[in-house]
């Protein structure tokens, strides 16, 4: 499809005129920060954080009470902030629904045209928005994690309880270096959310903003039904809900980061090429 598009609409060779901003790290940073601020200024971003944090902290209390009643299967495994953090993966699906579709909106409204007449290369527009997606995903993930940690600390009895081998993502890391475990979780969620947000940009090049908000998260969930058996390890859904996949060899920090890193890079390349072609 991409190749077909490129054949139909050859990408414009850009020769910047005098006075035009040359593609530079500074310009990329300015654009990315501006787009990130725009995304974070949307109430949807913080409503998503509030809802997911509420859900995560509820899970934390429910599990704590289950332990108190003695009805939990593995009491040692479910105490502490890890319980809340393992439910934050929902943010990866909710965030694009809340703030995806900005590219589609900007194309439809003509805002993108006004940026482009100022000589911003198409590819730079795409890359800056992809980086903005990373920054936004990072900010919202950190905010959610902070809420969960604060609630867990207040609720007690311990911030990070000893965990059972069977029910934790990277249990050794959580046992020995909980802070690094939390940072790893943040990194994975961030890159995963940025990838899904990037997919939202891709969809937004062809469809209405609403479709670009809904299609990527739905596709992630649908992947659970497509990637089955040996293909499970390639399923974005399984990879994003990884804390529940405790017995898989690939559910480890490094493979997870590599998987989502590659996913983001692929999405970034496709989006950059398509934005350049589509807007040319």
């Amino acid at each position: 499809m991409v190749l077909e598009l490129l054949r139909e609409k050859p990408r414009g060779r850009v020769v910047p005129a005098p006075g035009f901003p040359l593609p530079s790290t500074k310009l990329l940073f300015r654009l990315a920060m501006f787009e990130a601020r725009r995304l974070l200024a949307r109430p949807g971003a913080w409503i998503a954080v509030a809802l997911v944090s509420l859900y995560a902290t509820s899970a934390l209390f429910i599990e704590r009470d289950a332990v108190a009643r003695g009805s939990s299967v593995d009491p040692s495994a479910v105490l502490g902030a890890a319980v809340g953090l393992q439910t934050l993966w929902l943010l990866v699906l909710v965030l694009p629904m809340a703030i995806g579709g900005t590219l589609a909106d900007d194309r439809a409204s003509g805002y993108l045209s006004l940026q482009l007449t100022r000589g911003v290369p198409r590819s730079l527009v795409a890359v800056s928005r992809l980086f903005a997606a990373v920054l936004t995903a990072l900010a919202t993930t950190v905010a959610s994690v902070v809420v969960v940690l604060c609630v867990a600390a207040a609720a007690g009895p311990v911030l990070f309880a000893p965990v059972g081998q069977a029910v934790s993502f990277a249990p050794e890391l959580l046992d020995t270096r909980p802070l690094l475990w939390v940072l790893t979780v943040i990194a994975i969620y961030t890159v995963a959310a940025a990838s899904v947000l990037g997919s939202s940009m891709f969809v937004g090049l062809w469809f209405h903003a609403l479709a670009s908000r809904i299609m990527p998260p739905v596709s992630v969930v649908a992947s659970a039904f497509v990637f089955v058996g040996r293909l499970t390890r390639f399923s974005p859904f399984e990879r994003v809900s990884f804390l529940q996949i405790f017995d898989a060899d690939w559910a480890a920090p490094i493979p997870m980061l590599i998987y989502w890193g590659i996913a983001w890079a692929v999405v970034a390349c496709v989006v950059t090429v398509c934005v350049s072609a589509k807007e040319g």
Binding site: V15, A17, P21, F34, Y111, Q115, T117, R118
Partner: protein, 278 residues
């Protein structure tokens, strides 16, 4: 003068030179299709825009059909034609937002062709102004200005004042009336002192004071050497500010009129469009 403080020394210098050189020949441009254009145009150095057989096709629809055209630097050209005539496509082409499917041309010497868009900074006032709704007018302009990083707060405030808006007004754009949005859109188009100003239906939603302001801005810009192309359905407005009028329909330039010969633009327009429809 409004733009005297803009920090674009080199650009100002070069533009003034072009503008003064163009002042003498005013409307030297002409449509190739209808009135002919020699391959070696003696005034080529003063040309802001030159199109040669430009065609733009969107899937099955041809928006522009072999359009040839020249525009002199510092001139004011009006585009009139029915809906879907190709006016906005022509403006987008000049703005470097799209590349032609066929044909070639140049904007201030920067060539474009089927594989290449024009890349010259232009001031574009789109038909439907798009802004970030929760930001104030000044904040929106700051966001655009940050891209090229050529102007500062003073120039932004000047541009806003020039179109009758207050730079200190913190009201978000979502609370603006349509007329205020048009004014803000005009401010963003002129604030960085473009050499080519493209206005798509600029009088939409403007009150009578706004229309007078628009005329003044267009004339000021042209007086400073800026080439202005405005597309409008308001024939009287086009007639008032333009030195030259292009009648477009079906992606073709049907007539290239200078203001002197235009007479009643409305009569010419209705006659030509009726003929074309037949």
């Amino acid at each position: 003068m409004f733009f005297s403080t803009v920090k674009m020394g080199a650009a100002i210098g070069s533009r003034k030179a072009v503008g003064s050189a163009a002042a003498g020949n005013g409307m030297s441009g002409a449509g190739l299709d209808d009135v002919g254009l020699a391959d070696t145009d003696p005034t080529a150095d003063d040309l802001a825009v030159r199109l040669r057989g430009v065609t733009k096709q969107y899937r099955r629809q041809t928006a522009l059909k072999a359009v040839s055209l020249t525009l002199a630097s510092g001139s004011i050209t009006g585009l009139v034609g029915p809906n879907g005539a190709g006016k906005t496509t022509l403006l987008k082409l000049l703005a470097g937002l799209i590349s032609p499917t066929d044909g070639s041309g140049s904007v201030f010497g920067h060539e474009f062709s089927p594989h290449r868009r024009a890349m010259v900074f232009v001031g574009l006032m789109p038909e439907h102004p798009a802004f970030i709704e929760y930001l104030s007018g000044a904040a929106n302009l700051r966001a655009f200005a940050a891209i090229r990083n050529q102007i500062g707060e003073k120039e932004i405030a000047d541009a806003l004042a020039h179109v009758g808006l207050d730079a200190n007004d913190r009201k978000p754009v979502r609370a603006y009336s349509q007329g205020m949005r048009q004014r803000l859109s005009l401010a963003q188009a002129i604030m960085e002192q473009p050499r080519l100003l493209l206005l798509d239906e600029p009088a939409n939603g403007l009150d009578p004071h706004g229309v007078v302001m628009l005329r003044d801005v267009v004339k000021d810009m042209a007086a400073q050497g800026c080439t202005v192309v405005l597309s409008s359905h308001l024939l009287s407005e086009v007639e008032t500010v333009s030195e030259r009028v292009l009648l477009i329909d079906g992606g073709r330039i049907l007539k290239d009129l200078s203001l002197d010969e235009a007479g009643s633009l409305e009569a010419v327009y209705l006659e030509l469009i009726a003929e074309h429809v037949r």
